[in-house]
Symmetry: C2
Amino acid sequence: MVGLEISKKSDSDSIKNNRLSDAVINLDQGDPTAFQEYWMKMKDRCTVVIPGWDMMSYFSNTTDVCWFLEPELAKAIKALHGAIGNAATEERYIVVGTGSSQLCQAALFALSSLSEVKPVSIVAATPYYSTYVEEASYLQSKLYKWEGDARTFDKNGPYIEMMTSPNNPDGTIREPVVNRSGKVIHDFAYYWPHYTPITRRQDHDLMLFTFSKITGHAGSRIGWALVKDIEVAKRMVQYLTINSIGVSKESQTRATTILNEITKICRNKSESFFEYGFEKMKSRWERLREVVDSGDTFTLPNYPQAFCNFFGKSISNSPAFAWLGCKEERDLGSLLKENKVLTRGGDRCGCDKKYVRVSMLSRDDDFDIFLHRLATIKDLKCIKP
Amino acid sequence: MVGLEISKKSDSDSIKNNRLSDAVINLDQGDPTAFQEYWMKMKDRCTVVIPGWDMMSYFSNTTDVCWFLEPELAKAIKALHGAIGNAATEERYIVVGTGSSQLCQAALFALSSLSEVKPVSIVAATPYYSTYVEEASYLQSKLYKWEGDARTFDKNGPYIEMMTSPNNPDGTIREPVVNRSGKVIHDFAYYWPHYTPITRRQDHDLMLFTFSKITGHAGSRIGWALVKDIEVAKRMVQYLTINSIGVSKESQTRATTILNEITKICRNKSESFFEYGFEKMKSRWERLREVVDSGDTFTLPNYPQAFCNFFGKSISNSPAFAWLGCKEERDLGSLLKENKVLTRGGDRCGCDKKYVRVSMLSRDDDFDIFLHRLATIKDLKCIKP
């Protein structure tokens, strides 16, 4: 039995933590450790036991296009999407990956290798997930080429638009912006009811999801793609076969257990992970807005309310990252770093350095210290360098 | 307590299996399911139990160059190499990967991105591991280029030689062949005492190992690199960070448990995995040679005996793959396929189609059926097409 007691440290606790700890707070990566307290309360309900002789083969199901996908994980993924209502799984191939990063690269390989003209342009509307740039560039592939902001993209020829909704880093709800006859990779890492209202059942050609950002199990490195076209699915599997000969069976088994549990209890108000996660994120956003609104230094995006089909009520976005801005023209990332808070600079997301991406998924202690340090900077009125 | 009872099916059992089963036997991949019987006998000695709240973070050790490497796995790897005496681990960085395939690609990225001149040529002496060709080619990187057989390689400029010893597919003991001032990736996947005599403690700049081919746990997708140069290690970690944001913690934890156990009992004759594995492989090779030698159709390489420092006696190679040849000029892969045995054609390894690579690590039943079918082909005197 899991209660929904969201930890709210008092100001005095927070200040004490700050005095005690002079440590650098890393809110650059989106390490989703915020949710660990939920899993602690679940005690042994999602414990997995793996004997030494189990899961030894490379193969999970030789009759599946994705031959290294555990059939029970495929079932768990379908059941979860069915219960949440966030994505269609019918008439689709499921491709499992070592996190959705690997799947994103598998999708770039699949779509570009199937294109007659190469290199295929890769674009994303700013501010974009900075890792897309690295994923599309690091190997200097002749198959595809990073071309930056989708909004100013005007090249002819084939293209792939990376579309993240709610968007990483700024939490906005998005649609593709190029709208020619290119391909779109729909990254729905954050399209879950603790982050955003579930307004429709997504039904696109290639959709990516990640276990990390649903339940917080980033260490497992499990992601999946829902793919309509069998040729695309086959090429993605080809990529994953050459890249890593499939995906950890231990992680797949654990993800199966955990996804099945959150599906089973998703309508139980006192136990549901999504109820817990929603309250947790909502509370953190309220506290962050309180600090930001009490001064005249920082900005945050505002999100419209929308009716969430899962919760059956109108709710707002509580994104996994805060897209924090500075009202004056200065390098906000450096300012925060001077104050021992590491964030991701807006320049890495194709934007101005006056913005930073801040993880909202840290442990409670780190979040408290972050708020306290932010309040301290605010008091300094953001002195110009 | 694990006995070393190697399963030796009688001829009549084998024929019965063959009659009962008309199934295609897949000996193309080296799926190491042969060793499962050992782990069944170990019962719950290597069982791992993972609670739902554990291993949630991306990070394992932020002070390590390889920040996603579990410290306990690093210790287990060092202890195992120390006990077996097959590789030096001192003054080296350990980089963990999703199998050694991913690490091989991380190494290609690291060495080529550090090279002033690009693309860097990638070579391997024939017959080579066919997957190297795919790994070096599929993304059409501008950083490196597959250039085929190392023996005929005569281009100027930087190169990387892939060197596998004992070699996959033909089991021979190898040294680099280009011997200019290039880089060498030493793939020691099979440099373990159940496959080959341990004649020296390997001590090279970049050495690859894989959990799959030691204990048979291919489903875990765990490999590691021992790397001397910190800049190379950092670039490999950069590759793994972009490619998959690290490696499954569940698999790392399980590998730790299993590697620690085989290290602990490696000198106990009745329990040692390596004693078991050595007898198992030796027995399979004796049975295969018996079938091959009783006719005039097929060929197998001969391996010299050498003193094994681990076993303290002179032994021969019992490679994980048989490099089976046909005395007449014909497509041996097709001939075997007609007889419902899938193997990897020698042409994929840069050689003639009269050779095939046959996995020696299948389950007992499949190995028995393979031998029986091979004996049947032999009786047909390899009729020309």
